[in-house]
Structures are given as structure tokens and as C-alpha cells.
């Protein structure tokens, strides 16, 4: 492998196009429920002359009047999209990893799109377990952060700290700490998935410690890079949306421009996702992690042991 496992991973290999297209398709499909908001708008705010004719951008008061009629429906639709994306990712991610790993090994699969789906279905179980463990880790981390900052806030209130410290700095630091927890858990989960698929393992409890060792051994590529890339892509999306809202569309073609912007965002997200997957595989493939790759899974074989115990008891 070349000396730049992470930065060079953006280059497509055999199967990359299929991976990115499938991810983009999943993003679009998962966002489709949100189009129900058009009906909500058409039935409500878009019929209120007070809003429609108000000067743009809408004042805060006008926004706050409008949003209660729209946000609950939007939130439900958006969250259902998040659920759809979660389910899609359970299949797409391991499938994409498998196809990209094959390309890394020099044995590209002939029909990458079909292979992504076929391979991905096989890994649903382990992917679900990884998701569960990640959720638990985030919950635990958030609880610890909450406890620590709660104690700090109490100390500060007793000591007479300023509002700047108590109401701005502390909450920002708390958010940052939470961000670190989510980043760590997310990076660990990402590398665990890489370990599972690259080594064709099934046991999450075996893959987790290996992933943790990789994160420790290559923090730049395994931890910092995916967090920064995810942050940059998400941040760009926020900037685009913020600019959009502050500069309401005017003139012909405005809607088309917005659609193009959305499409570009989706493409960027899919590209970033592909880059992260390839980077993860290439980091795990580094020679110094060879001893980890050859570690065997040690299944508990609970079912086999239970059946054996039952047979022994019957024999007695």
C-alpha cells in the first residue's frame, strides 16, 4: 500500500461508483418521507396571507408563529427518514466494506452493486449488535459527561461564577465533551465494522477490542480523520442550509437551483462516506496491525454447551 492510506483513499476503485450511488440512493429514499411537508405547508402556512405577504426574510415572530404548525409533522417525517437510513445502512455499510475490501485485496467483484446488497444482508446481525453497543457507549458517556458538568455547574453557582461562564462556556464545553463521546463511540463502531467485514468475523465482542487497539495505534487515520470528515461534510450542509434560509429564493430558476444544491449535498455526503469506508479499510490493512488480524474469534458456543449439559444430565 502507498504511504497515504487515509488521504489517498478518496480515489475510486472497482466498486466505488456502485457504493456511492447506492448510498446516494439510500439518502434520497430516506429523505422522501420528508416531502410530506409540502402538503403540510400547502394546507397551512402557505394559505395565510399574513405569512405569504410578509417581508423576507420572515421576522423571528413570524417564524415562531409558523413553525409550531409545521415542525411536529416535519420532525416525525424526518425521524422516520432517519430510521429508514439506519436500516439501509445496516445493509449498505457492510456490503460496501466487503466490496471495497475485495478491491483492496486485488480481487474486485464483478457486479459490485448486487454484491453490496448480497453481502450486506449477511451482516445485519453483527451490524445490529454494533449499533446496540455504540448506543450503550454513547448513553454511558453522556451520563458521565452530564454528571461531571453538573457537579462543575453546581460548584460554579455556589462560587458565584458569571453568566458567561455558567450559561455559555460550560454548556459549550459540555456540548464539546458530548461531541467527543459521540466521536469516540462512532469511530470505534466504524472500525469495529471494518474489522468484522475485513476479517469475516461474526463476534462483535472479539472485534471491539481489536478496533480499540487500531484506534490507539493509528489515532490520526482511525479516529481524527473520520470525525473531521464527517464534521466537514455536515458543517458544509449546515452552511448551505443557513445561507439558503437567510437568502430566500427569488426569480425564475430559484427552485431548480435549490434542487441542484440538494443533489450536490447528497453527492458530497455519498463521496465522503465512501472515502471514510476506504480509509478505514486501508488503516486496518497497515502491516503493524497484522497480529490483530490473525487473532481468532473465541465463540462461547453457549448453545452447544447447553445441549451437551442437557445430554449429560439425561445420561445420568
Amino acid at each position: 500500500m502507498s504511504g497515504r492510506p487515509v488521504l489517498g483513499a478518496w480515489r475510486p476503485v472497482r466498486g466505488s461508483r456502485a457504493v456511492m450511488l447506492l448510498q446516494a440512493a439510500a439518502l434520497v429514499v430516506a429523505s422522501l418521507p420528508a416531502t410530506g411537508v409540502f402538503a403540510v405547508l400547502a394546507g397551512g402556512p402557505a394559505r395565510a396571507p399574513v405569512l405569504v405577504e410578509a417581508a423576507r426574510p420572515l421576522s423571528w415572530a413570524a417564524l415562531l408563529r409558523m413553525l409550531p404548525g409545521v415542525l411536529p409533522a416535519w420532525a416525525g417525517l424526518a425521524l422516520s427518514g432517519v430510521g429508514v437510513m439506519f436500516l439501509a445502512t445496516l445493509v449498505l455499510r457492510p456490503g460496501a466494506l466487503a466490496v471495497l475490501a475485495a478491491a483492496e485485496r486485488g480481487t474486485p467483484v464483478p457486479r459490485p452493486a448486487r454484491a453490496v446488497l448480497a453481502e450486506g444482508v449477511r451482516w445485519i446481525g453483527p451490524m445490529l449488535r454494533v449499533a446496540l453497543v455504540t448506543a450503550l457507549l454513547i448513553a454511558l458517556g453522556a451520563a458521565l459527561v452530564g454528571r461531571a458538568f453538573g457537579a462543575l455547574s453546581l460548584h460554579g453557582a455556589r462560587a458565584g461564577w458569571s453568566d458567561l461562564r455558567l450559561d455559555v462556556v460550560l454548556p459549550l464545553l459540555r456540548l464539546a465533551a458530548l461531541g467527543v463521546v459521540v466521536a469516540l463511540a462512532g469511530a470505534l463502531a466504524a472500525m469495529t465494522r471494518v474489522v468484522l467485514v475485513a476479517d469475516r468475523r461474526r463476534l462483535v465482542r472479539s472485534a471491539l477490542p481489536i478496533a480499540a487497539r487500531v484506534l490507539r495505534g493509528a489515532p490520526g487515520g482511525a479516529l481524527v480523520f473520520p470525525v473531521v470528515l464527517h464534521g466537514v461534510v455536515a458543517g458544509l450542509g449546515l452552511v448551505v442550509l443557513g445561507w439558503w434560509r437567510q437568502h430566500p429564493p427569488a426569480g425564475a430558476g430559484a427552485a431548480a437551483l435549490r434542487v441542484v444544491l440538494l443533489a450536490l449535498l447528497v453527492a458530497l455526503q455519498a463521496f465522503g462516506w465512501h472515502w471514510m469506508l476506504r480509509a478505514g479499510l486501508r488503516v486496518y490493512a497497515l502491516p503493524r496491525f497484522e497480529p490483530l488480524r490473525v487473532r481468532l474469534d473465541r465463540p462461547w458456543n453457549l448453545r452447544r454447551r447447553a445441549l451437551a449439559a442437557l445430554r449429560r444430565r439425561r445420561a445420568r
Binding site: A46, S59, A61, G160, S162, V168, L262
Partner: protein, 720 residues
């Protein structure tokens, strides 16, 4: 007088402001307080001696005198104040947090002795009373039993020794980390309302316990207050500073003295790390300056100009519209952040504005007026409504809070002319008045009691704030929009002229409205004071369909059928026919019957002409609902796609109305109150409806919200 002298006088008159009454009343107020207090800000303790001289302005002898001892509300959690705190909106979370942070926040004021005439005079009996709720644990109201009654016109002198500890600030008053905002700290005589005051037929004591949802009520008095504090402690207070008599009893202490005539309360601030800035300002309506003083933490004294500027513009606006500020000083305290619960409060000639804190130097907050200027504007407005027009805040709290909220918006409007950037947050407009309307929007439908309902502390669960602040302010704004600002300003000016330095009630304000604003304005105000719910107008249904000749056996020739079926579609005289169905209304046992009638309306925009025989006709039917008020008529506007706009006046008395018309044009939208005069309507979005949604609006917001959902899907959906 020579011509030259006359010219000089005329020139002088042109330059000098118009002469208006600025002086305090010539006579004596009902009370005089001479108080000495020694305050230790670090220990939060105080010892006090007061001499009260009270004049019986009633029509009967008085043998018992109620005394407010408000500070005892913070003695323990069984007081009426603490029991009512959740209902008053203090918040259980905030309360839990307060007790988490503070182990010993309690404060109290003990009456040590009450004597008649002199400090060594005969001792009088006194006991705590609880006339409002019978709470034996509440000691915020005492009754002193006199050894002999005070006849009408007579005078009573009391010498009271008291002492205690200030609480950690939970509501308005207290000490923390060496900063003390000392309010409601001295035993205060309740108000004896003479005959004629607030509808009293005979003199009556108006004495209530301290409730969580309400504030205070006291008589006008002359104050002479001496404060002893440790050296190095800065003190600022109500009124004007004068040389102190004598020296403090303790070594290493300083004695200061303040006097003020014709106010009904006295508060002061004391702290080690404080600084003050002063500026003289000549407000509108005066020719002499008012000394504006800002007191704030020494490290943040650079934030003083914000408070001082806001106070100056407030006095100008109020002075121009209502009447000149009659006192010579106004102190604005910006408490430190940890004492934020003392912020935003009014006392005569002394207010607490927004907190002073490093966060205000932080760029996003530096420009925002919400945290400093708006609070100062509100509290300065209270100098008039509460300070000079001293309404009973426990029984008619809306007469000061709602008025101050309305005037806060007016002052903000003026201030914003000089600070246009401050009216925008992230590029969007953020008007103060709009925020007040929003408060009504979020709680409007839960309000089901009249403003007039008494006492103020018994408004329904958590509606107190929306009632006395937002609803009252919105009512005044509605009156302004409907009758014009000059008319409403005349009402305020008349109210001020008639009742400054007294205790007006709702009836007094309505009388001023009738005299200066007219019967219609007074009727609107009176109706809204007594109305249970907010007035809600709404477009319930809009139906537009192609007109079809009715099927069935009509007995008419086909060529006449269309004309007979569409008598409304006659516009040859330049008017549009509209069928109006009004169901009538009932008031008591009087019934106004409903009817359907045909009215001919001349368009206010667009032109109509003869309808061609083969023209496609559209039948429009609109159903509206309203609050059924007698004094809140509205305009209903119909807009058609041929540019014709029709307006019809609806008296608003019935609970609904239906309009029907048949025209060679389709309805585009219907609007109730297109001029948006009814600020009281908490849901203005449903006052109008377009037949078809605005496609550009749907596209713009729809695509944006889909984009936002997609962002969420991408950022969160794949996280696990």
C-alpha cells in the same frame, strides 16, 4: 411692559419647553418613615429602628394597624409565598436548583418591639395574621393593636425595632457574595383606602399577605433613611442623598442618608465591588435635569452607558406622551449575574435593570437589547405605572405590568430608530412588540378568566404572566391601532393628570379613557377587561366552485334559469352583490334575530361591469367565526382574481357569519381584520386564508425543510 421686553419673553417662550406641572404635591402624604438600618452585607444581617407617622384619612376611628413584613416570605418553605411559587411560574426545576446551590438561603424580619409615639413609649401588642389563606406559618402581615384608637383626621406615631437577615435572592431581594439588593426590608403600614379610592364607600384597610404571583401596595410617604454599612461598601438608594446625622455605632462603619418625598417604597443596594456612573439628563417636559445613576460591578462599569441611555430615552418618551417625570433622581442597578434574581424590578426612583455580566461583552449579546435595554425600559415605565399611579398590584396587577409592557414597546420603538442593527438577530427582525404578541400566542387559548378577576394571585394555573403582562399590553395596543396613537396618548395623559400620587383602579382608568379617548374606546376597554377569553377571529371555511344551474324542477324557462339562480351575479351598477348571513346574538334575555340579506358593495380596488351572459360564474362561500363581542367590529376583505377587492364591515356580535357571492371571477383570499388592528387575537395566522396555497412559499419552505431532513438523515441516520 416694553415691546422689547415682550419680544424677549416671546423668544424665550419659543425656546423653553412648554411649562407643565413637575412638582410633587404641595401637602404631606399620609405617611412619614424615618428609618435607621445597620446592614452587614457579608453576614446578610440587619438591625433597624423606624419611626412611622401615619395620618388617618379615613372616615372612622382606627384601633388596629396592619403592617407588611414582606421579608418573612423567605423564612421557610411553609410560607404562603413558597407554597404558591409553582403556580406563579417560578418553576419546580428552578426551585430545586436553588436549594441545591444554597444550603441556608432563608431570610426573615423580626418585629422586636412596637411602641406608640416614641422608642420608650408604651409597648403595643402585635400578632401575625393571615386573612387571605389562613396559613398559620405565614408571617408577612402583622396587626398592631392600638391602646387607643386614632380618630378620623388624627395622627399615629409608631416606633418599631426590627432586625433579621436578608435571604439569598430568590425573588427580588437578598444578599449573596457581598452584594445586597435590599427591598421590602422595613415594616410597612398597609394602605387605608379612604372613601372614593378604588370604589371604596367607606375607609377600608387593604392588607394582603405576600403572594408569589403578586407584588406590593403601599401608601405614599416621605422617607428619611439612614444606612450604616462597613467601610468600603458602596450604597445607592431611592431618592437624594443628604448629609447623615451622627456616626455609626460600630467602628469601621460608614453612615449614609437618603431622603425622598412622595414615594411609596424605599430600596437600596449595597456591595463592596460596585461602582457607579452618573449623568444628568433633561427629560422631555422638564427644564431641570434628572440625575441618572447606574450602579454595577466595578469590573463591568463600562456597561453602564447601556442602562443610562435606555433610562434617558425612556424618560423622554414617557415625558412627552404622558407627563414629565417629577423626581430628581433615577438609579439603575445592574446586579451581578449571580444575583440575577434581583434584576428586572421597580421601586420608586430606583430600579434594577438587566444583570451586568461579561456575557454582555460577548459580540452576539452586545448588540441585543433584550437583556439590558428592554428591561430598563420596562422598569422605567413602572415609575409611572406603579410608582406615580400607585395601583394595587395584588388586586389589579394588570394596571401596572400590562401598562409598563405596552410602554416598553413604545420606548423600544423610539430607541430602535437610533439602533437599527439591534432590531435584527441573524438578519431577521426581532421587534419587542412582536415578542409580546408571541407570549399571547403561546398561552392565549389557555386564558379563560377575565383580566378583572380578583385577586391577581388567583389567576388560573400559570396564566398570571400572560394575563397581566401580555394580554393587558395587547389590549392597549389594540386600542392604539383602532383609535390612533394620539387618542390613546391623550388617555394616558389624562389618567396621569388625574391620578398621579394616588391609588387609581380600573374604573379610574376607564373614566379617563371615556373622557379623553371617547365612548367607543372606553367601551372596547371595558368589554375586554370583563371578557373571559381572548377574541379569536378565524376563517373557518372557504368554498369556491363553478356556478351551476340547479338541477331539478324549478318551474322556470331555461333562458331565465341562470339569471334567476344567480341574482348575485349582477354588477352593472358597479357594485357586487354579496349575500350575508348573520345568525344574530343573544345578550342576557335580549335576542337580536339573525337574517340573510343582500348587500351591494362597491369595490375598494378593481372595477366591475356588466356580466356577459356566457361568462363562467364562480360561486364563493365563506364562513367566518368570531368572539361575539359588542365592541370589536372588524373589516372582512374578499379578493378576487380579476383584481376586485371587496370590504364589508362585520360588527362582530354574532359568533359566526357567512358570505356568499356569485361572480365572473374566482376568490383568491379572504381576510378578517386586514389592517391587523386586533393585537389581542392570539392567532392572526387564521384570520386569513388563500383559496390556493402560494406555490412559491410551498416550494421555498418545502425544499428547505426537505433539505434539513436530508441533513438530519445523513448526519444522524448512519451514526449508529
Amino acid at each position: 411692559m416694553t415691546v422689547r421686553t415682550l419680544c424677549v419673553l416671546v423668544a424665550a417662550a419659543a425656546v423653553l419647553p412648554a411649562a407643565r406641572a413637575v412638582e410633587l404635591p404641595a401637602g404631606d402624604p399620609p405617611l412619614r418613615y424615618e428609618i435607621r438600618i445597620a446592614l452587614d452585607p457579608d453576614a446578610r444581617t440587619f438591625e433597624g429602628h423606624e419611626r412611622i407617622v401615619w395620618h388617618n384619612r379615613g372616615d372612622a376611628p382606627v384601633d388596629r394597624v396592619p403592617l407588611h413584613v414582606y421579608l418573612n416570605a423567605f423564612a421557610h418553605r411553609g410560607t404562603t409565598f413558597w407554597r404558591e411559587s409553582p403556580e406563579a411560574g417560578f418553576g419546580r426545576f428552578a426551585e430545586r436548583r436553588f436549594f441545591e446551590v444554597h444550603d441556608d438561603p432563608w431570610g426573615w424580619n423580626e418585629l422586636r418591639a412596637v411602641r406608640r409615639d416614641r422608642p420608650d413609649g408604651p409597648e403595643l401588642a402585635f400578632a401575625a395574621i393571615a386573612p387571605d389563606d389562613g396559613n398559620p406559618l405565614d408571617r408577612t402581615l402583622f396587626e398592631v393593636r392600638l391602646d387607643r384608637p386614632v380618630p378620623p383626621g388624627g395622627t399615629l406615631a409608631l416606633a418599631i425595632d426590627f432586625g433579621g437577615r436578608l435571604p439569598v435572592p430568590w425573588a427580588r431581594t437578598g444578599c449573596e457574595h457581598g452584594f445586597c439588593l435590599v427591598a421590602q426590608w422595613f415594616p410597612k403600614v398597609a394602605v387605608l383606602e379612604p372613601p372614593g379610592t378604588r370604589g371604596a364607600r367607606h375607609a377600608r384597610w387593604n392588607a394582603h399577605q405576600f403572594h408569589a404571583a403578586t407584588e406590593f401596595y403601599a401608601d405614599f410617604a416621605d422617607f428619611d433613611v439612614t444606612v450604616d454599612v462597613p467601610d468600603g461598601v458602596l450604597v445607592a438608594a431611592t431618592g437624594v442623598e443628604r448629609p447623615a446625622d451622627g456616626a455609626p455605632e460600630r467602628e469601621g462603619w460608614t453612615r449614609r442618608r437618603w431622603v425622598q418625598r412622595w414615594v411609596h417604597d424605599f430600596a437600596f443596594v449595597a456591595g463592596r465591588d460596585l461602582a457607579e456612573r452618573t449623568v444628568e439628563h433633561v427629560p422631555a417636559g422638564r427644564s431641570t435635569p434628572v440625575l441618572l445613576r447606574a450602579v454595577l460591578p466595578a469590573a463591568l462599569v463600562h456597561q453602564a452607558p447601556r442602562s443610562l441611555d435606555a433610562a434617558a430615552v425612556s424618560l423622554d418618551v414617557l415625558g412627552e406622551a404622558i407627563g414629565p417625570y417629577p423626581y430628581d433622581t433615577l438609579t439603575v442597578v445592574a446586579p451581578p449575574g449571580f444575583a440575577g434574581r434581583t434584576a428586572g424590578m421597580e421601586y420608586p426612583t430606583f430600579i434594577t435593570g438587566g444583570t451586568a455580566d461579561p456575557v454582555l461583552d460577548w459580540p452576539p449579546r452586545r448588540e441585543m437589547p433584550l437583556f439590558v435595554e428592554v428591561t430598563v425600559m420596562h422598569e422605567v415605565a413602572h415609575q409611572y405605572f406603579y410608582g406615580l399611579l400607585a395601583n394595587d398590584e395584588r388586586e389589579e396587577g394588570f394596571l401596572d405590568e400590562g401598562f409598563a409592557t405596552y410602554w416598553e414597546e413604545r420606548i423600544f420603538e423610539r430607541w430602535a430608530e437610533e439602533h437599527p442593527r439591534a432590531t435584527r438577530l441573524l438578519g431577521r427582525r426581532t421587534g419587542d412588540g412582536e415578542m409580546i404578541e408571541l407570549m399571547l400566542a403561546f398561552s392565549g387559548e389557555s386564558l379563560r378568566e377575565p383580566l378583572l378577576r380578583r385577586p391577581t394571585w388567583l389567576y388560573e394555573h400559570r396564566t398570571h404572566g400572560a394575563q397581566i403582562y401580555a394580554r393587558m399590553a395587547a389590549l392597549l395596543a389594540t386600542a392604539e391601532r383602532r383609535f390612533g396613537r394620539p387618542a390613546t396618548d391623550r388617555v394616558f395623559a389624562a389618567y396621569f393628570r388625574r391620578h398621579a400620587f394616588s391609588h387609581p383602579g380600573t374604573a379610574d382608568f376607564l373614566a379617563a379613557a371615556r373622557a379623553a379617548g371617547g365612548e367607543a374606546m372606553a367601551a372596547l376597554l371595558a368589554e375586554e377587561f370583563a371578557a373571559r377569553r381572548l377574541p379569536l377571529y378565524r376563517v373557518e371555511e372557504v368554498d369556491v366552485r363553478r356556478f351551476e344551474v340547479p338541477r331539478g324542477r324549478s318551474g322556470l324557462e331555461p333562458e331565465h334559469l341562470r339569471d334567476a339562480a344567480a341574482p348575485l351575479a349582477v354588477e352593472r351598477d358597479g357594485r357586487v352583490r354579496v349575500e350575508v348571513t348573520d345568525p344574530g346574538h343573544v345578550r342576557g334575555l335580549e335576542v337580536a334575530a339573525g337574517a340573510t340579506r343582500l348587500v351591494a358593495l362597491a369595490p375598494v380596488a378593481g372595477r366591475v361591469g356588466p356580466v356577459a351572459a356566457d361568462a363562467t360564474l364562480w360561486e364563493t362561500q365563506v364562513r367566518l367565526s368570531g368572539p361575539g363581542r359588542d365592541h370589536l367590529p372588524v373589516t372582512v376583505e374578499l379578493r378576487f382574481d380579476d383584481g376586485v377587492v371587496l370590504r364589508q364591515r362585520w360588527d362582530g356580535r354574532a359568533l359566526w357569519r357567512r358570505l356568499r357571492t356569485v361572480r365572473p371571477a374566482r376568490l383568491v383570499d379572504v381576510r378578517i381584520d386586514p389592517e391587523q388592528t386586533i393585537v389581542l387575537d392570539p392567532l392572526p395566522l387564521d384570520d386569513g386564508r388563500r383559496v390556493e396555497p402560494d406555490r412559491r412559499f410551498v416550494r421555498d419552505w418545502g425544499l428547505f425543510l426537505v433539505g434539513a431532513a436530508e441533513w438530519l438523515v445523513a448526519a444522524v441516520g448512519g451514526l449508529l
